[in-house]
């Protein structure tokens, strides 16, 4: 079942001279884990924001093409209404805290209150998402007392409590320390296991390689490729797009170890599997 359709998406920021996104088309099926990679300025964040309708509804600017979430055209809908179908988590954990709630528990309730969810259902959803994100024990804490990683997990909990079909994460670990990043990736992995459709823009290539079913490779606002991590990182021209393949892929390239389909492995498990086949 297709969850998200992007058709010939083009976008230019109000004060921009060049297209930030140029003729982007792809489809995402329910439960897929999609990574978006590309160097700085390639359009990763703009694409994430276009999926939730912030582009063009929040930024305005010139827009063409379509983004359909469950057959609803996001550009034609209010961002607030779309939030029940697709949620987004941004880079900075601090600015995602509303600042109007005094506890973690109330913070998760914020979006649900706005959507008019009945109180009993609200409590059920808050507790579910806090437990899933391993924040239940912090429910009485003030959100600003949490660490960066915990704050980012709170932002994810607040979004998933709204029960979106798709969760978009725009470099969620870029401002976190290694421990905070690990906590967030663990949480994302748990969500993926629960069948949530995840789209994540991320610079941590090793993580993307090990979690993603498919990867979107962007360069200067254009979609260069949309395929499996093995195919994307096996491209001979990958480094021309500012992407350094995962360390396992580079090792396999130097040893010329490929899988049955003829692509280089991207994770430790895949490398181990291929090496066992070769060396026994």
């Amino acid at each position: 079942m297709v969850n998200l359709v992007v058709e010939h998406l083009k976008y230019r920021y109000p004060l921009g001279n060049e297209l930030a996104l140029e003729d982007i088309s792809f489809e995402v099926k329910k439960g897929e884990f999609i990574g978006i990679i590309g160097e700085n300025g390639s359009g990763k964040s703009t694409l994430c924001q276009a999926i939730v309708g912030l582009v063009p509804n929040f930024y305005k600017g010139a827009y063409g093409g379509k983004v359909l979430v469950k057959e609803i055209e996001v550009a034609q809908s209010d961002v607030s209404e779309i939030s029940s179908y697709v949620g987004i988590v941004f880079q900075n954990p601090f600015t995602q805290i509303t600042g109007s709630k005094l506890t973690v528990y109330e913070e998760v309730a914020f979006g649900l209150e706005n959507l008019g969810i009945p109180r009993e259902e609200m409590i059920k959803r808050i507790e579910e998402s806090l437990k899933l994100l391993r924040l239940f024990e912090y429910r009485h804490f003030n959100p600003f007392e949490l660490s960066g990683g915990q704050m980012q997990r709170l932002a994810i909990a607040s979004v998933i409590a709204m029960k979106p079909d798709i969760l978009v994460l725009d470099e969620p670990t870029s401002q976190l320390d290694p421990q905070g990043s690990e906590e967030v990736f663990q949480a994302i992995q748990d969500l993926a296991k629960n069948g949530m459709t995840i789209i994540i823009a991320e610079h941590k290539i090793e993580k993307i390689a090990s979690y993603a079913d498919k990867i979107i490779l962007l360069h200067k606002g254009k979609l260069v490729d949309f395929d499996t991590p093995e195919k994307i990182f096996s491209r001979e021209d990958i480094e021309e797009y500012g992407i350094v393949p995962p360390v396992y892929t580079r090792i396999c390239k130097s040893l010329n170890v490929k899988n049955e389909a003829g692509f280089y492995p991207v994770t430790l498990e895949q490398v181990y599997y291929e090496l066992v086949k070769v060396y026994g």
Binding site: S80, F90, S100, K101
Partner: protein, 256 residues
Amino acid sequence: MRYLSLYQEGNSLLHKIDPITKLLFVIIAILVPIIINTLTMALAFFIISTLLVFVARAFKRTLPIISFSSLVIITVLFIQGLFYLKNQTPFFTLGPFVFYKEGLLYATGIAIRIFNIINAVAVLIFTTKPSDLIEALVKKGVSPKIGYVFSSVLQIIPQMMSIVDTILDAQKARGLETEGSFTKRAKAFIPLIGPAVLNSLISTKERAMALEVRGFNSKKKKTFLNEVPYNKYSNVLQVALIAILVFSIIWRIISW
């Protein structure tokens, strides 16, 4: 966690009364002595609000506000005692100054009204969490956007202050002198303002987007996580307070 609030945890009777009733009391305590402009009415409300301060166990926290206001009140007593237009009856003399009974009575009326307002407001702010008051107002129909502005400011301003401290530390680490003469300190502010303002603008934009994707502008009817516990006494008190206000207006019209 820094939070701009004067709320004092407690379990007094006034802590249990809902915020709207307390807010209504503050409004009545200010309006009624104005509508029925007699010293007796002002004194009656002053006594009630002072008693409520004691019931709320907030006297210690109210005392500094009263002490500070007393400085202003003493000035009023001096000026009115000496120069009130209707001064006729000398009350006492202090060196070359003659204080008149009419002026002193008038100033006493002002003092009682001011102390009444301070006590009434103290009862509200020391026994009510600002977030509870704002949420109660939003439930009564105040725009959620206005509610958000007030409730977020209480937490975000202290957070922004700590960001300014971080920027200041970063600038100090680069050799910026922030201590010394007034000119030196004023100069130190210039490299601080740029990053602080930019940071605030970026944060505001990001927070606006985060609110948007959490349904802040949703047209659906808002629901609330926190329920105001049903308190039959609150309803009785609210009706009684409104009745007092209506009665005082009627009284004023009749006695005009």
